[in-house]
């Protein structure tokens, strides 16, 4: 089984945007880099969260207020990032879009992690028949590249915020299921778990005190990765017109709507793309930092 397991681990990592499967030794320079990752990633993320908060508290202009006479204005004092084809304030819409992105990213990650981890834990702990059933299903799901599965589900459920969140969440369930199953599979047979069994500990306590702590790390790392991927997927879906629906502002949709005007209103395609880029990079950097922290070999 060892071979298969190794290959599967690779599958998981190759799937996610983080494929750094092979560790390296600790070096002082790594530490500096980690600090940089945390600071840069953290501050970028803070900016995005602030923008979302500003939109939440109504500190920006009204993101959906149209003014046809002021359409396609370049960035200036009245409109920091200019206006779009309806004369709506692009900054306000970017800020609103960060609310959507964080909500969809966070929500779908939470869904994927909870559902995936439960399935994986069940399969890994029960083993045998259950394991076979669940993992075959997960294998079947994994045959569909993430965005394809999300497109399929959104097509069936219809577009919109909630459905987009669910579709992206479902598409990410398999990764979490596999990771958790791996943790439980190794945990079940570990010496200290067998010892706890022998001492008469209850199943739930064993899971809680002996197996789960080992699983939290990988799941957390995967969660930051999934968060970033989910934001990218939401943007792609909305770009294709299958995700967030108007009049709600979403970065992907803003990009799509701005595209016909890009020759004369460059800012309107730059702003939403840059917003996606910055958010995903911030999350990736945070993910790197968490991984380094949790990796026993670099600690």
């Amino acid at each position: 089984m060892a071979v298969v397991w190794r290959a599967k681990r690779l599958t998981i990592k190759g799937w996610s945007s983080e494929a750094e499967g092979f560790r390296q030794r600790a070096r002082p320079r790594r530490l500096q880099r980690r600090q940089l990752s945390i600071w840069l990633g953290g501050s970028l993320l803070l900016v995005i969260c602030l923008a979302a908060a500003a939109s939440w508290w109504g500190l920006t202009l009204e993101p959906n207020a149209m003014n046809i006479r002021e359409r396609l204005l370049p960035p200036g004092p009245g409109h920091w990032l200019g206006t779009d084809h309806f004369g709506r304030d692009i900054f306000a819409r970017i800020a609103y879009g960060s609310r959507i992105a964080l909500l969809v990213g966070g929500g779908s990650t939470l869904l994927a992690a909870t559902l995936g981890a439960s399935l994986g834990a069940w399969a890994g702990y029960k083993g045998g028949w259950w394991d076979e059933l669940i993992m075959r299903l997960i294998d079947g799901l994994m045959a569909f590249p993430g965005i394809l599965l999300a497109i399929m589900l959104v097509t069936v459920m219809g577009p919109g915020l909630g459905n987009t969140m669910i579709a992206i969440g479902m598409a990410n369930v398999p990764v979490f299921a596999r990771i958790t199953r791996g943790v439980f599979l190794t945990g079940r047979n570990a010496l200290y778990v067998e010892a706890a069994h022998a001492l008469g500990a209850r199943t739930w306590d064993i899971i809680r005190y002996h197996i789960l702590p080992n699983g939290i790390g990988p799941i957390l790392v995967q969660a930051t990765v999934t968060f970033a991927t989910a934001i990218l997927t939401e943007a792609s879906l909305s770009y294709l017109g299958l995700g967030i629906q108007p009049p709600d502002a979403s970065w992907g949709r803003m990009l799509k709507e701005a595209q016909p005007q890009m020759g004369r209103a460059l800012w309107s395609v730059l702003a939403p793309g840059a917003a996606i880029f910055i958010t995903v990079m911030a999350l990736n950097l945070m993910g790197d930092a968490i991984r380094d922290r949790l990796d026993p070999e670099t600690r």
């Binding site: 006479r69 002021e70 396609l72 577009p159 017109g241 629906q245 108007p246 009049p247 016909p260 004369r264």
Partner: protein, 515 residues
Amino acid sequence: MGGGLKRICRLPAIVILGLLVSLSLSLWVESPGGSLALAAPAVGGHLVVAVPVDPDTFDPHKAVAAATEEIEFNIYQGLVSFDQEGRIIPCLAESWEISEDGTTYTFRIREGVLFHNGRRLTAADVVYSLERIKDDATGFPLSWPKRMVEVAAPNENTVRIRLDEPYAPFLSELVDAAVVPPEAAAALATEPVGTGPFRMVEWVNGQHVELERFEEYWEEGVPYLDRVTFRIIPDPATAILNLKAGTVHVIPRLSADVAWDVEATTGLKLLEGPMNVVQLMALNLDRKPLSDKRVRQAINHAVDKDLLIEGAAWGFGAKLGSNMSPVMESFYLDLADFYQYDPKRAKELLAEAGYPNGFDITLSLPSSYDLHVKTGEMVAAMLGEVGIRVRIELVEWGTWLERIYTKRDYDMTIVGLSGKLDPHTVLSRYESSYARNFNNFRNDEYDNLIQEGLRITDFSRRQEIYRRCQEILAEEAAAVFIMDPSDLVAMREGVAGWRYYPKYVDDLRYVYFEK
């Protein structure tokens, strides 16, 4: 500020320019002798036309997608055709007679017409084609062929058709009834054989359709072009980049979103003409509070159509007041200003109807139609101003057809109803018994007028009838009739002879490259 203002000032100039261009074109067209100072059409050349959607099938008796019809117009022909005003003109039939009771049509078939496979057209081919259209197994989407109770060929040059009862729009329906040779019928879907000015050379799915001039075409002097390629380019911005690069010569039905780019580029020109489409916000009259006429009138007053045309269509559109495009000149009644934009009046009407604080309502939009989505976004904001809280819901075209159009499960929706050549076919969709009367409009006077119009052939009475019909639709506020979006055609300088029709076709017979 600059952008917006400049755009507004420039607009009339463009419209005038567009008018001048189309005027001079039509002038030239009407005097083919070439006495005008325009260059004589040059024969030859290979024209590349960008179209957004792949054709689905080239079997003319199955195709319904407009994208297919616009290409097919150059390959297939029917007994009759239409001119630029939408009048029925002879085509494969040289002439025809209609019996006194209006049920028997006798066509005299044109002599010397060849199919693309080289065989001569006979009356038997016409009978075969009409029978094929009538046959359920063929899958022709419309029901009018059922009205033909008998199709016969008394001799080689005559076809006689008997209808179950008088049906005034019959000739205009025949426009879509392509005549095909029986021996080629099985493979028409991919290997079309017709009598048109061009024949197909190659079709690569998703990429292009290539046509070449049919040397034995029956009309004298046309077509001018040697070859035509329809390149499938789904994205209008990409199409324009190709137009600039010279790899594409014409983009018909250009999205108004990118028209600015054509106007801003030297060496390119933009033609503007009517599309013969009625873009409207349909209201489900069976739903509260839309069943109340005052509410519908309030909605009509709350919508600023001029702003919609400017905002959603970048100014390229003609304001409507009822369910007919101005292109149908002889039947059109100008009701564009029947409901002035007047939010105050809208609020009064709402209060009168018992909704001083407005109400909540859903607006369903077909997601694949960018213009309707944009219009809908703006309408939602406008209705918000008078207190009507609109929830926007986007549905895919498939869902739209089933849920909204067939099952009539919706409050309000925005869609474009493509115009027809005959006023009956345009207006009969509001008849209470019409299968697709998705507005649920019911009006006795209207029903009677439609029935009367079907049976009489007197032109001036038909005019009266259909004008009154438009008036009723406006008075009753059956819907919010918004605009006929302009049909924009972008082309490179040096391409000439483009003709506008009240139907969705690309007529390439008269197109040529200026020397």
